[in-house]
Symmetry: C2
Subunit: 201 residues, 2 copies
């Protein structure tokens, strides 16, 4: 019997992935559910639905609501939140660095720091200097990490993640997927996903 | 000082309005929040966003997920759920009857019965015979009620509701709006809306 497990699919540009990323590890630990962080890119998935931008920008009513709602959700969770001037931001480099970090044991801390930088500290996460500062705070050699992040192997891994996300029906982020393939979309469904993972054992 | 109050904006065609409609009254009562049922039509609001159908039909990935998610949500709430063969259904007549019922004190029971008919009993709610059976079960004279529902006054009220929904930024259903104008979208946000209504007093 394998322990209960979920994959947490996140995109750095995604607003609701911020509160989800900040809290899922503690929730999974408390439930005894193994957590695997799965960075991917929403761009190709949105393109397949005919969108060349975030739906929150394409549909302004929904976008205006989302910013208000995310602010409320973060406040209720005790998370700092400042609406970024730029949205969506390009999370490509951050996602590649996250894959390196996940291989090396500092991935989750890096992921949370990137979300904090974007949604609490008004930093631009496509700026390598911002990521570099985070790497330094994690005592990593930034030049080495960036080289690894831009390797063919890591680029392929991120592309494959995105293809896998598309294949399993993911259409937004965050998405939490149980070992038996049950898909839960949104920060609102993390508890349900973990409960499903536990019950399925 | 007025008691805390929310408007519950619902559309009979909306899937997530079903669990929301089934539970909001008990939740509002428990919190001492006054509840006003506000039927409206999503069609004109979707049209303004360029949609001539439910977004769950326009974006099949999202639609497939929604059916699965609604089924899970209903199961967790102990609500029967059967995916209707027809979606979305035309809720125009039901919404007009609901307005009559809300004036006469049997509106909430009618609303819940219509949702049950559509999402638990596989009935077609645009069929007057289905609504008639519900009215009979509520001991109303169906012919009189249908005449009232098709009056110019009720038609205008429903149109005005939809216009008001659009004006206050509603883009989907259900939406719960507090007396101070805070908008909460979705079955997932009912508790937050009631908490906001209470805290604002």
């Amino acid at each position: 019997m394998t322990p209960p497990a979920v994959d947490f699919w996140f995109e750095f540009a995604s607003t609701y992935s911020y509160p989800a990323a900040m809290r899922i590890e503690a929730l999974a630990d408390a439930q005894g559910v193994r957590l695997r962080w799965r960075p991917f890119l929403l761009g190709p998935i949105f393109k397949a639905q005919g969108w060349d931008n975030s739906p929150f920008n394409i549909y302004p009513l929904k976008g205006r609501y989302m910013w208000r709602d995310v602010a409320r959700v973060c406040r209720d969770l005790g998370l700092p939140f400042v609406q970024p001037a730029q949205f969506p931001q390009n999370g490509l480099l951050a996602a590649r660095v996250a894959l390196v970090g996940l291989d090396q044991g500092w991935g989750a801390d890096f992921i949370r720091a990137v979300y904090r930088a974007q949604f609490a500290e008004s930093r631009i996460i496509s700026d390598p200097a911002v990521l570099q500062a985070i790497l330094v705070s994690l005592r990593r050699d930034a030049r080495t990490v960036f080289e690894q992040a831009q390797s063919a192997a890591i680029k392929t891994r991120l592309r494959e993640n995105t293809e896998e996300a598309q294949q399993i029906g993911i259409f937004g982020a965050p998405s939490t997927v149980t070992a038996d393939g049950e898909l839960f979309w949104g920060n609102d469904r993390i508890e349900a996903a973990l409960a499903w993972a536990k019950a399925g054992q």
